[in-house]
Symmetry: C2
Subunit: 349 residues, 2 copies
């Protein structure tokens, strides 16, 4: 089993674990035949579940973990739980037995344990959370989505470097365009850290990809492939956009149930409406990635089903397949001087 | 002509001025028969335009202004243009000849001139921009939408007081619920200023209306009637939500043009789809309000048509009709001690 193509899966995290995790893993295993998996959790429960998925079982080993980090468990308590399925999965990455870990568990615990155990990549000050979302011009990458509520210019530049590597690895783009989220597109707009970050980016190797400031409406428009922001506004933007799409979907459902004519109208337009629904399906975009650590860490939505969990595993598999680790290191090398200018990254290195 | 029910209208601001302004004013005049208007701009151009709308003309006087603040004019330059239609309209409010002003012109200039000429209400540190938007549970109020990119706890509390008065005046709510926009709903979430603001609100007269922190998806869900935020994240949320709704509307349009069956499907479901479109029509929500000044100031979108401009005039008329000025003063009085604790508001008073 090649550790470089192995994913550690926390089988016990999430609302429907371990059933949806094992079923999702089985789906993902079909899509990524070159990957192997270590399923971490309660062996007695996992053995019969895995037995239902013969083909996936061939790619899987089980690793027993006695405890589970609960969904409402405080981070400090989760950190003390060293035999939890989450902790063991991330430990496997740190020990070099897996290249990444996927969990649908407690977000705060995943972030804290991953940061503690895996440490940041030399040259990265703070890890960021990234995700993929739909836009009028295809899928886009957004980061940070909440790991860092307040950011300085340097953090934003590092997010841009990580977002670039992520878009290359997962969206397969060769030169993704990049925008900084602001309240206006003019150069003088926004807060100081944003203006500084824009200046740094214009002077960096990312300059040809950097289009300047983008605004909230540019996210759904897909104006740039990557939208970089501080974690507060990124989190607000992601959830507001999701909420607006959900509102529209709910209202449409009501419209098509108004009367018989509307119901027939729905049936006639159904193929297109189904495609639209599938395209906007939140499960397709499941998988928030903690970028900037020594290893791939993907957090699945806790309430998702097997399709959603499979999508999260796919993101991790794509990052590993397309050597996200090398891409990010290449970006940091191109940045050059700034790496050595950072005392914290020197320590981390 | 009662100055307390008079609106000064900048006839020359906006992409389609003065035609769309005069036509929009005519629409609004029918909806608010108790209001009077002073139309400020180039008399030679306005006289024939107004002549087309006999009923509105009866409610209107013209006030000549020689110059116009251009859409791209720098704020400093706009401030020097003391005979502009925008400046004259706001001067009329300061002089007590009108209770409010409406303009579709340059946002930066409107804000700067309004703040300079009208000054803040005693007890308000910084004015905020508010607007009304759609949600699953009816219209909601969002503020700040960009006047203050960085805010402290006190600013946020003042936004809550102003948002409360605005929701009472314009949405007609007697006890609007209130949420603070954050990255999570738990008490310990977010940045310090938000946690402090939450604490202040829980100890204030707004406590019965304050539901705590809300997240991005709560905006479209209509979890609270008022969403208070700093101007940066409010601006990002507003534009991201609008962008997501627009994406969905564009995709739907494509779906219904796929083939003959889809076209017929559209026709069958059309009444409901049209109602949905009208309900989400951005023109219906046109009119961003600068709250916290001594006078009502409404900024219409520059690119809107007469329907949109009429909506902006309606917001101003509703604020005047329902005595927004008294509502905000009542709120500030209930806050009590905090007013006198503020050196800046003492100066403003």
């Amino acid at each position: 089993m090649s550790a470089s193509h192995t994913l550690a899966i926390d089988a016990m995290g999430g609302d429907h674990a371990p059933q949806s995790v094992v079923a999702g893993l089985a789906l993902a295993a079909e899509r990524h035949p070159n990957m192997r998996y270590v399923l971490v959790g309660d062996e007695a429960r996992l053995t019969p579940l895995l037995a239902r998925h013969r083909r996936a079982a061939e790619k899987c080993t089980l690793a027993h973990a006695q405890t589970v980090v609960g969904p409402d468990m405080k981070v400090a308590q989760a950190l003390r739980l060293r035999e939890s399925s989450l902790r063991r999965a991330i430990d496997l990455v740190a020990e070099g037995q897996a290249a990444g870990a996927v969990s649908a568990g407690n977000t705060g615990a995943i972030m804290a344990i991953a940061k503690l155990v895996l440490k940041t990549v030399p040259g990265i000050d703070r890890p960021a959370i990234a995700a993929i979302g739909p836009s009028a011009r295809g899928d886009i990458v957004m980061l940070d989505l909440g790991a860092n509520l307040e950011c300085d210019a340097r953090n934003l530049v590092e997010f841009a470097i990580m977002g670039d590597a992520f878009a290359r690895a997962v969206l397969g783009l060769t030169s993704p365009t990049l925008g900084l989220l602001n309240v206006g597109s003019e150069e003088q707009k926004g807060v100081e850290s944003l203006r500084q970050a824009a200046e740094l980016l214009r002077a960096s190797f990312l300059a040809p990809q950097f289009t300047g400031f983008v605004e909230g409406h540019d996210i759904a428009a897909g104006t740039t492939d990557i939208v970089v922001s501080d974690g507060f506004s990124g989190n607000v933007a992601l959830k507001t956009g999701e909420g607006a799409l959900r509102l529209m979907a709910d209202l449409l459902r009501q419209v098509f149930q108004t009367d018989l004519a509307s119901r027939i109208g729905y049936l006639l337009a159904r193929p297109g409406l189904e495609r639209l629904r599938e395209w906007l399906d939140p499960r397709r975009y499941n998988g928030a990635v903690l970028l900037g650590l020594n290893g791939v860490v993907v957090k699945s939505h806790g309430g998702t089903d097997e399709e959603g969990f499979a999508a999260a595993v796919s993101v991790a598999a794509d990052m590993i397949d397309h050597r996200f680790d090398r891409l990010i290191r290449a970006g940091l090398e191109k940045r050059g001087h700034a790496v050595s200018a950072s005392p914290r990254s020197a320590v981390a290195g």
